[in-house]
Structure formats: structure tokens, C-alpha cells
């Protein structure tokens, strides 16, 4: 028997009616991403501001003072100078600051000499007990250093080359988020996670539901084939979740004013593929578990956890042990997150994301094949 478009269409049409007549699912699907993205976007602000830092300036030159001025003007740091060993000991005993910044003597001389092999040095001693704050402080300070470099280059054109060179390494980290605004990272990333997870849950429930309410048995006694059911179930949910993607996109770009610098078509194509993969994964779960409750638990395990842990959303992948760096490659969330961040915040050519795009295509294809393969045509336990 051949694949029948008519049967696939009739399954899709039936599914579409189920969706329309179940206001709860419809509302959850349409409103949940909005609520989450809105809430996270507005409420979560990972930016630390006015962190108190003790400063020991052993250089005491115009260069060091100028540098500290720049650091203070970033707004992230409250600089409190300490003089001499006694004050320093007192400050450390008070234990009311996460960090101590030390400018070594000779800092001004080195900067003026502009010798790339011997740059000016600042030491930051941060309290490692709050590692998040410590690392954020480190990165913010580097941002301030870079800004100071630029100011310095402007003020001393004869040293511009050297200053630009010195700043190059630092600058690469902040190029795409010069204001170090965490909201810019979160909104596109979060949209991925919420929509991808929603897609998995939606389809994870559908087939299991048909097993539970008995309709699967009747369906299997007709000539309908697994591929037709799989396709028929994918299409309506694809449209539904794609609508979500568009809504979140509009929200990100027009409400949170996140710059969208990349290719819109490429981003949409990536969304299509990613959603399809997530929906197909949901179907695989549903086909295997045949029970809604188990399907939901599975969906959480394979949908939600990797979204946060293995995608690079919370823990940067480059900081992971080697095994996990490769392990994360199994999860489409990681690749889509890369695409999403890059496309939003840079105008990099789509070709640079070929690996990531290829990975999500592969995942989606594998999931569809698996869903069809695992689909049972009998009621054997």
C-alpha cells in the first residue's frame, strides 16, 4: 500500500479540530511563551551594578588615575581606594567587598611604552565564593579595560596601533553585546527553549492520548499507515508552534528592542527545522510510552533538562569537560541556541552556521524516521 496524502490530510484535519476544541491547550500554547518570555525578559536582570571594589593604586600616575576613572564611569563598580597595608587589612577584615583591585607600580610607564610584549597590568582579586559574581566582575572589568584602551588611543593618537592591538583580544568577547546586557542573551535563547519544549510536550501527548482513549485501536484497524499518522500529527502542531515563534520574534525585536542583525530567512528556516525536530521527538516519546503521564515525564527529561543544562544557556559549553562538549552536540537545543544567538546579535553569514544547521536537520530527520519506525501497527504489548 502506498503512502496516501488523503489519509495524512484527514489525520491532520482531525488533529486541527481537536486543537480548536480544546481551549486549554490552545491557550497554553499561545500564551505560555508570551508569559515566559515577557517575564524573563523584564524580570530577570543578571546585570550586577555598583559592585564595591577596593582599589590599591601602587602606580599613582595620571595613567592609572585616568584608568580608574574609566572603570568607575562604567557604572558597574563602586571603587573605594585603600592606602597602605593597615587600611588594606582593615578592609579585608570588614569583608564587605567581593574584590580588590591592585594596580602595580610601573603601570603608567608600561602603557606609555606601548610594548605589546609588556602590557600594563591590573590585578583583580575576586571573592570566589560567589563565582557568578566573580566571573561577571572579571568580564566587566575586561570590558572597562577595553574601553579605557579606546579612550587612551583617542587621547594619544601616536600610540593608537598598539592600543588597538592590545584591546583586540578583549574586544572579541563583547563585540556582539557591547552593553553587556543579559536580556539580549536571554530572550532569543529563552524563546528557543520554551517553544522547543512546548513542541515536545504537545506531540508527546497526542499519540499517547489516542492509546489511552482507545481510538488508536480503531485507527489501526483501518488502512491508515504510521507515516500518514506521523505527518498528519506533525503539520497542525507545526503551524501552531511556528505561530509562537513569530510572536516571540516580534516580542524580542519590537518590545525588548533586541537588534536582529542576521538573515531573517535563515533564522526562519532554522526555526522550521528545529520545531520539526522537537515535534518529531515528542512523537517518538508518545509512540514509545503510549501513556500521557509517562510521556509528560519523558518530555520533561529529554526536553527541559538538556535545554538548560546542555544547550549552553546556563553553563557555557566551552567551559565544559571535553566529554560533555561532545555530548552536548547530541542535543539540537545546543545548535539552535548557537544559531539563534548568532543570528540575532551578529550579521555573520549563514554559511558560518552550516554545522549547526546541518546538525538540526539531521536530528529532525532522524526523529521522523524513528517515529515512523517505532509506530506500532498492532496492539501487542
Amino acid at each position: 500500500m502506498m503512502f496516501s496524502w488523503r489519509r495524512a490530510r484527514s489525520v491532520a484535519y482531525k488533529e486541527y479540530k481537536h486543537i480548536l476544541r480544546d481551549p486549554f491547550t490552545l491557550i497554553v500554547t499561545l500564551v505560555l511563551p508570551l508569559v515566559f518570555v515577557g517575564m524573563f525578559g523584564f524580570v530577570i536582570d543578571l546585570d550586577y551594578k555598583h559592585m564595591r571594589v577596593y582599589v590599591r593604586d601602587n602606580d599613582q600616575t595620571s595613567v592609572s588615575r585616568r584608568f580608574l576613572q574609566e572603570v568607575a564611569s562604567s557604572g558597574y563598580f563602586n571603587l573605594t581606594p585603600v592606602h597602605g597595608q593597615f587600611q588594606l587589612d582593615q578592609a579585608l577584615q570588614r569583608n564587605d567587598s567581593p574584590a580588590l583591585m591592585v594596580i602595580r607600580s610601573g603601570f603608567g610607564r608600561r602603557v606609555r611604552a606601548a610594548n605589546p610584549g609588556e602590557p600594563g597590568q591590573i590585578q583583580l582579586l575576586a571573592d570566589g565564593t560567589d563565582n557568578v559574581q566573580a566571573s561577571i566582575m572579571g568580564t566587566y572589568l575586561q570590558g572597562a579595560v577595553q574601553k579605557a584602551n579606546a579612550v587612551f588611543a583617542r587621547d594619544n593618537p601616536e600610540l593608537a596601533d598598539a592600543a588597538a592591538q592590545a584591546g583586540e583580544q578583549v574586544r572579541s568577547r563583547f563585540l556582539f553585546n557591547p552593553e553587556l546586557n543579559s536580556r539580549w542573551f536571554i530572550v532569543p535563547a529563552l524563546s528557543t527553549i520554551i517553544i522547543g519544549f512546548l513542541a515536545i510536550v504537545l506531540t508527546a501527548l497526542t499519540v499517547a492520548k489516542e492509546w489511552e482513549n482507545g481510538s488508536m485501536e480503531l485507527l489501526l484497524s483501518t488502512p491508515v499507515r504510521p507515516a500518514e499518522i506521523v505527518l498528519g500529527k506533525l503539520v497542525p502542531y507545526f503551524l501552531l508552534t511556528f505561530f509562537d515563534v513569530l510572536v516571540v520574534f516580534v516580542l524580542a525585536v519590537y518590545v525588548f528592542r533586541i537588534p536582529f542583525l542576521g538573515s531573517f530567512i535563515f533564522y526562519m528556516a532554522a526555526c522550521w527545522v528545529y520545531i520539526t525536530g522537537a515535534l518529531a521527538l515528542g512523537l517518538v516519546i508518545s509512540v514509545v510510552t503510549r501513556q500521557q503521564q509517562a510521556a509528560i515525564q519523558f518530555a520533561f527529561a529529554v526536553g527541559l533538562l538538556p535545554s538548560f543544562i546542555f544547550s549552553g544557556f546556563i553553563f557555557p559549553i566551552e567551559n565544559m569537560p571535553l566529554f560533555f562538549r561532545y555530548f552536548t552536540a547530541l542535543f539540537p537545543q545546543r545548535w539552535f541556541l548557537l544559531i539563534s544567538r548568532t543570528v540575532f546579535l551578529s550579521d555573520a553569514a549563514p554559511a558560518t552556521l552550516a554545522t549547526a544547521f546541518g546538525a538540526i536537520v539531521l536530528f529532525a530527520a532522524a526523529m521522523i524516521v524513528l517515529a515512523v519506525q517505532k509506530f506500532k501497527t498492532d496492539v501487542e504489548p
Binding site: S4, N213, S215, E217, L219
Partner: protein, 241 residues
């Protein structure tokens, strides 16, 4: 378009840990109304699912033929209609939407579907309820809708798993009337039931108890064979042994 004949030979089937069927032999003659009679847990559903091709025997075989010509299980499945015991319709879809859904699943042309649907709606008296959602139908009407869905395709073998359970006597009567109205030269009907008093309504009964086929034949002949006055006694006596 004659009816399908199904033969079950030496079939055993385990469902989970339970031995649902033990060495079952049964012949379902073409064009007759067959009843599989037995209490809950006797293996009726397993036997019907085997006939529907939804389960595969552990040992033994199920074969189909039409007028002496063999049918493969795949061929047979295409001309078999099966309505399960458990609710299996979509509660949010209306009767008409169900019929249209099954029209597409069976790939029926519209010009064939329309008169058939009209005929079925009329025969079942469901015409006034065609816009009602399946979840809002009474027990009897629900079963009638299921029957219509599987009859759309004019099956040569119709399998109904406990169609009369939980249905009031009036609807029960109507369902049996429908079965006899559609059975005949072109359709073999197999109905399972745990209502012992329904055995008499079948042309042929197959008495199943604890996975074993105790007897097959016309109801009166089977009762004579066991020397009893009603079917419940067969099971009571069987238990005592």
C-alpha cells in the same frame, strides 16, 4: 462480493503474564452471525484482536478465505471492520465528522460515501444526531456511531467486541437488528458478549472460558451438548470441574 471466512487453528496467545488463549480452534463460516460467548477474562477480546490482525498468535494460525480463495492477513485486514469494546471514538468530534474522517481513511470516493452515509444514518436512526459530539451520545448511540464508521467501508468481516455492554435493552435490541440487517451473503459478523442471554441471538456460538474453546455450534445444539438450559450453566459446570 461474498463474505470472508476466517479460521483459527491451534492458537495460543500470552498477554503479559496471563495465558489469554490456549490451543483455540474456531471456524467462522462466511455470511453468518457468530457469537463469542464468555465471561470477562475468558479471552474474547484477544481472539477478536487476533482476527482483526492487531495481535499475532504465539503458536497456531489465523487464515482467511473467500469462496475457496485464500486471503493474506494484509488483504484480509483491508476488508475487515473492527469496533473495539473500549470507547474509541473522539469525544470532541461530531458524528458527521467521524464519518468524514473514516471516509478519508478508507479513501472512499464522495459519490460512494454520500449514499452509504445516508443509508447508515437512516438505518441507525442517527440522522437527527449527526451534529452531536461523540462524547455527548448515550451508550447505545455511541455504539451505533462506531458501527456506522466501520460499516462505511462495506467490510466482508465485521468484528464487534462486546457491542452491547452497558447498553439499555432497547438499544441492545436495535444493535442486534442492525447487525442482522447488514449481515448476510456479503458480510460475516463476529460479536463477542459476556451477556449469557445473548448467546441465543447468534446463529453460531463459540463458547470461550479461561482461554479455552469449550464448544462451537448453533446455540440450541451447544446447550443440548452440555445438557443445560442456559449458557450461564455451562460456565458454572465448567468451573466446578
Amino acid at each position: 462480493m461474498p463474505a470472508l471466512r476466517a479460521q483459527v487453528r491451534g492458537v495460543s496467545k500470552k498477554m503479559g503474564r496471563a495465558q489469554a488463549l490456549r490451543q483455540v480452534d474456531a471456524l467462522f463460516d462466511a455470511g453468518k452471525v457468530h457469537g463469542i460467548i464468555g465471561p470477562n477474562g475468558a479471552g474474547k477480546t484477544t481472539l477478536i484482536r487476533l482476527l482483526a490482525g492487531l495481535l499475532h498468535p504465539d503458536t497456531g494460525s489465523v487464515s482467511y478465505s473467500e469462496g475457496g480463495q485464500k486471503f493474506s492477513s494484509a488483504q484480509a485486514k483491508r476488508v475487515t471492520g473492527y469496533f473495539p469494546q473500549e470507547p474509541s471514538l473522539y469525544p470532541d468530534l461530531t458524528c458527521e465528522e467521524h464519518l468524514e474522517f473514516f471516509r478519508d481513511l478508507y479513501a472512499l470516493p464522495q459519490e460512494e460515501f454520500e449514499p452509504r452515509a445516508r443509508e447508515l444514518l437512516q438505518a441507525t436512526g442517527m440522522e437527527p444526531f449527526k451534529d452531536r459530539a461523540a462524547g455527548k451520545l448515550s451508550g447505545g448511540m455511541y455504539k451505533k456511531l462506531g458501527l456506522m464508521c466501520v460499516l462505511l467501508n462495506r467490510p466482508k468481516l465485521l468484528l464487534l467486541d462486546e457491542p452491547t455492554v452497558g447498553v439499555d435493552p432497547v438499544s441492545r435490541q436495535e444493535l442486534w437488528d442492525l447487525v442482522y440487517g447488514f449481515a448476510g451473503e456479503n458480510m460475516t459478523v463476529v460479536v463477542s458478549t459476556s451477556y449469557m442471554d445473548e448467546a441465543g441471538r447468534c446463529a453460531q456460538v463459540h463458547v470461550l472460558s479461561d482461554g479455552q474453546m469449550l464448544a462451537s455450534g448453533a446455540p440450541q445444539a451447544v446447550m443440548r451438548q452440555f445438557g443445560v438450559n442456559d449458557f450461564a450453566e455451562i460456565f458454572l459446570n465448567h468451573e466446578r470441574k
